[in-house]
Amino acid sequence: MGEFAGVLLVFLSCLVVTGRCRDDTFTEELLIRPLTSGHIYSHFEFTTTWTTPEITRSIDQYRDFEFSHYDLFPRAFGEIVERYHVRELHLSLTQGLWRHRKWGYPIVDAPPGAQLWVWFNPTSENLDQTWRDLVNALSGLVCASLNFIDSTNTVSPELSYRPQGLAEEWYAGNSSYMRYAALPRENVCTENLTPWKKLLPCDTQSGLSMLLHPVPLYTAHYHALSLHLRPSCKDVSCSSVHLELTQALSLVQGPTLSSSGHQDWSLQQLFSTQLIYTCPLASMSKIYVDVTGNRDMKKFTLDPEPDIFDESGSGPSLRQLAVYDVQAALAGDGFNIEATYKSRHIYGIIPSPHLHVSRFITGYGQEGGSITVKFTNSGSTSLSVVYLEVLPWYLRLFLHTSHSYSHTKSLYISKLVTARDREQGWLYEAVVEIPASSTIELSLDFTRALLKWLEYPPDANHGFYIPAATISAVLPTPRNVSVNSLTCSTLKDKLVVQDGPSFVRLHTETLLVSLPTPDFSMPYNVICLACTVVALAFGPIHNITTKKLVLKKIENKESSFSRIVHRVKNIFKRGHKVENDCVEKDATKEQVIVEENPLYEDREDLEDITEEDEDEVKTSNKTENSQETKKDR
C-alpha cells in the first residue's frame, strides 16, 4: 500500500513537474580513440529515442508513423519519415576513405560520397515513385544533390543491408521493400553540416555539438556525417520498443604530433574549442577515451582524471574506456581533456584486422578494363562474405569473364540484375568463401560505352565515379570490431564487447573511370574550318568558272595632261588613229597582258591569241606592223 502510494506520488509529481512524463530522450556521447597509426579517431553520437503508443503500434503493425507533439525529435525529419512510408533509414555523407587495414573497424562504416538505404513499410503504393520523392525531400533537408539518385543507380540487394531495426523474417527477407543507392561524387562541406546540426535539440548552442566547428572537421583525413533511423528495443529484455534516431559524426584527424614527436592531443587541439555549456535537454552527456592497454596510465596520462573506467571483453578483444561525465564536470568553466604521452610515437607494424578488402581497376586504354577486388583473410578460420557490387550501365560487364586468380572452392551469385542502357544499373551480389590466412582476387572484365553527347557532365574529362562495393561478413571474434550488437541504443552500451560472432560491413574504395569522351569543341572547330574553306575557296572558284580571260593591250603611262591633250587630238583625228598608235608604240616595247572579258563567245579567239603570243615569245622580235595586222584581224 505504501509502495503504491509512493509510485502514485512519483507519477503525480512527474505530471505536475513536466506536464506529462517525458517519452523521448536525448543522449550525446563522444568516443576518442587514439589509433596505432598515430591518428585520432573521434566519434560523436547523438541519439534521440521516442516512445508513444502510436509509435509502438506503427512498429508492431508495419504501418506508417504518425507523429504528433514533436519535442526532441526533429520535426523536419519526422515529416519526411511520416510522408514517405519510411520504417528504417540510413544516410551517410562521407569525405575520405576509412582504412580498415590500419584503423580496424569503425562504429559506423560509410563509403566515400553519399549512401542512402531505406526500408519502407509494406504499402500498395509504387515504391519506386516513393523512393524518388523521398530522395528529393532528403536532398532539400541535407543540402546534398541526392536528387541524382534515380533508377540507374538504385538497387535492392538480396543479402546485404538487412534491416538493423526490429524486423520479422517475412519482412527482412523481402528485399522489394528496400532501396539502396550511392552517389560517390557527392562532397561534404559546411553546407551539409549546417542542416544536420539543426536537427539536434540543442543545436550548436550547448552540449557536445559545441565542438563541431567546420574548419577542424573538414581538415580531417576522414569525415563522415550520418543519420540512422530505426525501430529498436528499449532495453535488453525487449519488453517495449521505441523509435531511435542516431546522428553520428566520425572523424579521423591527422597525428597531432608535438614538436618532440609525441602523440599528444586535447579537445582544444582537435576541435579548436572547449566545452562550455551542457545541453539541458540531454539525459546523458559523456565522453569516452579508449585506454585499452593503458589502464595504468603508463603510455599516456589523461588530465583531468576520468570519473570511472569501463572494461569489457577479454583477451585480444579487451576494451577499456575512461568515462567522463560532462554534465557533472561542467559545473564551472570550460572543460578540456588533455592526453600527454610519455614517449615518442613509434610507427610500427600494425597487425591487420581479420578481413580487409581492396578494389581497383586494371587495364589500359579507353575501350575496356577489369574491376578486381582483393580479399585478405588474416584469421585462422575461413570466412564466407557477401560481396555487393553496384555498377553503372555504361560499364558493360562480361559476366563470363568473372574469375579468380587463386583457387576458390565456392562462389555463387545470390542476385544479379543485368543493366539496361539508361534505365537500370548492374547489381552483382555474390557469396564468396575466403580460406584462412589467404588472399583471393576476383575480377570482372568490362568494356566502356559511348554516351550520348548531352549525357556527359560539364567536366566530362574528370571521369566517372563508380560506387564503393560492400562486403558483409560475420567475424568469429570481436577483435578490432567497434560495435557488435544491435540491441543497444546508446554508444555506452554499444561499446560493451560481447564475445561471439560479430557482424561487420566494409566498404571498398570508389573507382574513377574515364569514358571515351568526345572533343566538345569539335563542332565549333568544324564550323570555323568549314566556313573558312568555303570563304577562301568559293570566291576564286566562282571567278574561274564564271569569268573569261582575254588579252588586252596596255597603254603606256603618260602624264594626265598629255593624256588629255591626246584625247583632244583623238577626237579630231579619229581616222588616223592607227597611225598615231603606231607612232606612239615606236618608242616602247609592246607588252601583252591578259584581261577579263565576260564575252564567252570570244573564247576561241582567246586561244588563238595565246598561241600566237607563245610564238611571239619564242621569236622574241616582232615589229609593230605585224602586231597591227593581228589586231586588224
Partner: protein, 351 residues
C-alpha cells in the same frame, strides 16, 4: 444623331467617375510595397580557377543573411565546391581577400542547388515556379505578389548570354521572358537584378517587365575585371564590383538609411575600370527614396490591425483531413509476442 449625342454626354459624365476609381487604384498601387524579401544568388562557374565567382556569390549571401533575410527565403546556387575542394589549402573557408579578412563561407551556410544541379533549366524553372511536385521546399521560390526579390548572377558572360558551367548558356531573351512570366503570375513586386560578368549590360537589354532595376558591372564591349590574386591559392580571389559592393554592404545595418542610389555609385570607373551599367526605365520609384535594406535585408511594412480572426477548432488528424497511413495496408499484422532483430548475414556460413 441626338441619340448619339445623348450617349456621348452620358459617356462623358460617367467616364470621370471611372477615371477617378482607376486613379485611386493606381495611387493604391504606388503605396503598395513589399511584405517579404527573397534572394536568388547564382554562381554559374565550375573549376578551381573560377574561385572568384564562388567568392562573389558567397559575399552577397553573407550580406543578405546578415541583414535579415532567413535561409528559407534565400536560394543559393553554387556550381562548384571551393571550400572543401582538395586544392584549397584552408578547408571550409572561402575568403574575399588575400589577407583573409572575411570568411564569406561562414559556419552557417546552406546551399540549395549545388554542383551539377546548377543548370539553365533549373534556374528558369525556379524563377517561373514550374518545378516537379517532389521538389523540396528549400529549392522553391515561393514568392507572392508582395515579394521583393534580389537576383544576383555571376560567372562568365558575353554579349547577350551567360555561360552555365562551361556547357550551356542562358540568353538575355530567355531571362527577359522568365521575368515576364514572373510578372504575369504576380510573383514579385520589385526585382533588383545585379549581374557581375563580362559585358554584363547585355543581359538586361531585353527586359520588358515593369518594376525591375538592373545593375551590371560592365557595359557591352567591356570586361569585368577581378580584384587581386591570392598567391597562396594561385587564383583570383574576387571580382572588383562585388569586392566594393561587399565593402559597402558591410557597413549597412538592418536599420540603416542608405539608399539604393548610393549603392549604384558603389564602384566608380576609377576603381572598377569597367563602367557600371544601370537600367532604370522599368523602375518607377526613385532610387534616392529606396533603402538598400528593402532588397538586401528583410525590412518591410508591418500593418497593425485590431481585426480578430475566428479560427475554427481543429479536431485532430481526422478532422484536418490528413491521409491516414497511405490507404490500404497489405495485410493485417498483429503485434508480435516477441520482438526480434533480423539476421544480418543470412547465408550458410563456412565456419
Amino acid at each position: 444623331t441626338t441619340m448619339k449625342l445623348l450617349v456621348l454626354v452620358v459617356v462623358l459624365c460617367v467616364a470621370p467617375i471611372y477615371a477617378n476609381n482607376v486613379g485611386s487604384f493606381s495611387q493604391l498601387l504606388k503605396k503598395k510595397t513589399h511584405t517579404n524579401n527573397w534572394a536568388v544568388l547564382v554562381d554559374t562557374s565550375r573549376f578551381w580557377f573560377n574561385y572568384r565567382h564562388v567568392a562573389n556569390v558567397l559575399s552577397m549571401y553573407r550580406s543578405v543573411k546578415r541583414l535579415g533575410i532567413p535561409d528559407s527565403q534565400i536560394i543559393l546556387m553554387v556550381a562548384d565546391d571551393m571550400a572543401c575542394n582538395p586544392r584549397n589549402p584552408r578547408p571550409a573557408t572561402v575568403f574575399n581577400n588575400a589577407h583573409q579578412h572575411i570568411n564569406v563561407y561562414g559556419e552557417d551556410v546552406e546551399v540549395d542547388y549545388r554542383g551539377y544541379e546548377v543548370t539553365v533549366e533549373n534556374f528558369v524553372r525556379l524563377l517561373t515556379g514550374r518545378l516537379t511536385p517532389s521538389t523540396p521546399r528549400s529549392k522553391r521560390l515561393l514568392t507572392d505578389d508582395g515579394s521583393n526579390i534580389l537576383i544576383y548572377m555571376t560567372g562568365h558572360g558575353g554579349d547577350g548570354f551567360l555561360k552555365f558551367q562551361d556547357s550551356e548558356e542562358i540568353t538575355n531573351v530567355e531571362l527577359a521572358d522568365a521575368f515576364e512570366q514572373m510578372w504575369q503570375k504576380k510573383r514579385y513586386v520589385e526585382i533588383l537584378f545585379i549581374i557581375d560578368t563580362c559585358q554584363a549590360a547585355s543581359m538586361y537589354e531585353h527586359f520588358y517587365s515593369p518594376n525591375i532595376l538592373a545593375i551590371a558591372s560592365s557595359l557591352v564591349g567591356e570586361d569585368s575585371l577581378s580584384h587581386h590574386v591570392d598567391p597562396a591559392i594561385g587564383v583570383y580571389i574576387i571580382d572588383r564590383f562585388t569586392y566594393y559592393a561587399l565593402e559597402f554592404l558591410e557597413r549597412v545595418t538592418p536599420n540603416s538609411d542608405r539608399t539604393l542610389a548610393q549603392f549604384l555609385q558603389v564602384c566608380p570607373k576609377r576603381v572598377c575600370i569597367s563602367t557600371v551599367g544601370v537600367r532604370q526605365d522599368l523602375y518607377k520609384r526613385d532610387p534616392n527614396n529606396v533603402l538598400v535594406t528593402e532588397f538586401f535585408g528583410s525590412v518591410r511594412n508591418v500593418e497593425l490591425t485590431d481585426h480578430i480572426l475566428d479560427l475554427p477548432k481543429c479536431g485532430g488528424r481526422g478532422k484536418v483531413g490528413l491521409n491516414n497511413s497511405s490507404g490500404t495496408i497489405l495485410k493485417k499484422i498483429s503485434s508480435p509476442e516477441k520482438y526480434m532483430y533480423a539476421d544480418q548475414l543470412p547465408i550458410h556460413r563456412a565456419s
